[in-house]
């Protein structure tokens, strides 16, 4: 049993757990940054910036995730390669599109054709993180935009009456206060993001779902030292437990964070906290 669980193939599934955690760890802050930028842009008084922010939120939220993941990743990869192609191989005369084939010169390949496999995998991973960040950033932008609108006008007015500039009221009053309104929405997004990680599979990254399916599949004794029947149910059960534990831990953490952010805020929950302390 111990031998079975430590085969090279099982090591791959353990690695893929780390891949998923790493993806979440990088994507969440990046998406938050995208969201913050998107929301700030949408609020901007400069019309083109505002259009850009609103356009980003509306378009990305409107496109189905799967379509976005399938289309955008391929398009992004090809845009990078075409750009590199034009810069690095200006003498190339053959067309890039030859029938069904997408052909760029060897030097323009991204990553280079002779790069080791881990470079290809990291590149794929980076593209995945970027795509996830764009998609979830749009949702986060919408949440943050709403949260910014929810901060009572009187709070900002107070700041203005003290002579703060609009930049100062934004950073010192609006942003610290809006988190408490944004957190419930953002925590929802975090939960969805956790569950969306199997979409990695669509992007050609061998994530835990791939390995669970591969390891659980029927194995005949000719091709393995550990033949077994259809064990996919058990592997997927393990995944279920993993995701349940993970979301539960997230919930608890987010609840604590919420309690902290509420402290001293002019909201119902903040008021309740204040009363609980004084009595």
């Amino acid at each position: 049993m111990a031998c079975y669980l430590t085969t090279g193939k099982h090591m791959s599934i353990y690695w893929s757990v780390l891949t998923v955690l790493l993806l979440l760890g990088i994507t969440a802050p990046t998406a938050l940054a995208f969201g913050f930028a998107g929301a700030s842009a949408a609020r901007s008084r400069i019309a083109p910036v505002s259009w850009l922010g609103r356009g980003y939120i509306a378009v990305v939220r409107g496109v189905p995730d799967i379509a976005f993941f399938l289309f955008f990743v391929i398009a992004l990869d090809q845009i990078i390669e075409v750009t590199r192609h034009h810069i690095l191989c200006p003498d190339w005369v053959e067309p890039i599109r030859q029938g069904n084939d997408f052909v760029v010169c060897q030097a323009a390949k991204m990553p280079l054709g002779n790069a080791p496999q881990w470079v290809h995998e990291s590149y794929g991973f980076a593209i995945a993180v970027f795509t996830f960040a764009i998609v979830f950033g749009a949702f986060a932008a919408n949440v943050i935009q709403g949260a910014m609108a929810a901060v009572p006008r009187g709070q900002i007015e107070t700041g203005e009456s003290y002579g703060m500039t609009s930049r100062q009221t934004f950073w010192r009053i609006l942003v610290p206060q809006m988190w408490v309104y944004a957190l419930p929405g953002l925590s929802n997004l975090w939960m969805v993001l956790i569950k969306a990680t199997p979409l990695l599979f669509l992007l050609g990254i061998q994530d835990i779902v791939y390995w669970a399916r591969e390891l659980g599949g029927i194995k005949t004794s000719r091709f393995t030292d550990y033949p077994h029947g259809d064990w996919r149910m058990w592997y997927f059960l393990a995944l279920l437990v993993f995701y349940l534990i993970f979301t539960r831990v997230s919930e608890i953490t987010l609840e604590r964070l919420m309690a902290r952010l509420t402290l001293g805020q002019a909201t119902t929950a903040g008021e309740a906290q204040r009363k609980a302390r004084t009595t």
């Binding site: 193939k9 791959s12 090809q78 069904n100 496999q117 881990w118 000719r222 091709f223």
Partner: protein
């Protein structure tokens, strides 16, 4: 997995520089879920008939090769968009596929497709037959009178018969035979279907040079009998 990556990385560094033009490293795309043709072994590496064959071909053609796995569903789109350079995944040569990609000469004889069933009286003319999406078997059933259910992996087609969702699986005999041997509930029907023109390597149509190299390597393996020895070892149909 790690060793594979390290050795190939080392190879790529040392040998990759030698070839300035063309393919410094040939990336071999396979599915890794279709034993005995290709599968992931206990160590997490690509293994099987095509692994051995591919390594030998690369040796003979003096190419540095690297193995990559890809879903069967998207194995052709990823080839033409350049994510890897060959498909070596038990893919039968058909006219439909030949319109999109190029094939080398076949390296297995046409392997008859078998029906894997749970009971010998399963209805294979009007019943429900499972096949993997985008295979020659799937098109064969679609053209016959039976109801086709498609699955993304060969694994799931077998599971469908085991749980009664389908009456039979139609797939390459070489894939089904070991499963029927070990599972007491499943058996192969005597009826075989002769479809497909043997398995070949798929390449981009614009990649004529590489195709020529692999064609020559396959021919040399056919000539000196090493290909036949591999076919016997992995039981993937008739010899040449």
């Amino acid at each position: 997995m790690k060793n594979l990556i390290l050795t190939t990385a080392a190879l790529a560094v040392t040998a990759g520089m030698a070839m300035a033009d063309g393919h410094a490293v040939v990336r071999m795309g396979t599915e890794g879920a279709y034993p005995p043709y290709n599968f992931i072994n206990d160590a997490g590496e690509v293994d099987g008939f095509e692994r051995e064959l591919g390594d030998e071909l690369c040796l003979r053609a003096e190419l540095t090769c690297e193995w990559v796995t890809n879903e069967w569903d998207s194995i052709i789109p990823n080839l033409v968009s350049g994510n890897y350079d060959t498909i070596i995944a038990g893919m039968s040569i058909t006219d439909e596929r030949d319109e999109v990609i190029d094939f080398t000469q076949n390296y297995t004889q046409p392997d008859p497709s078998s029906y894997l069933v749970a009971s010998a009286d399963a209805d294979i003319t009007g019943g429900v037959i499972a096949a993997q999406t985008g295979t020659i078997q799937a098109s064969f059933i679609a053209a016959s009178g039976a109801t086709l259910v498609e699955f993304a992996t060969p694994e799931e087609t077998v599971a469908a018969v085991k749980n009664g969702e389908a009456d039979a699986v139609l797939a390459d005999n070489a894939y089904l035979a070991p499963i029927a041997d070990e599972d007491g509930d499943l058996q192969l029907l005597d009826q075989k279907e002769l479809i497909g023109g043997g398995v070949g390597m798929g390449l981009r149509e614009s990649d004529g040079e590489l195709k020529g190299k692999f064609d020559a390597a396959i021919q040399s393996m056919k000539d000196d009998g090493t290909l036949n020895a591999l076919i016997t070892k992995w039981e993937v149909g008739e010899q040449f």
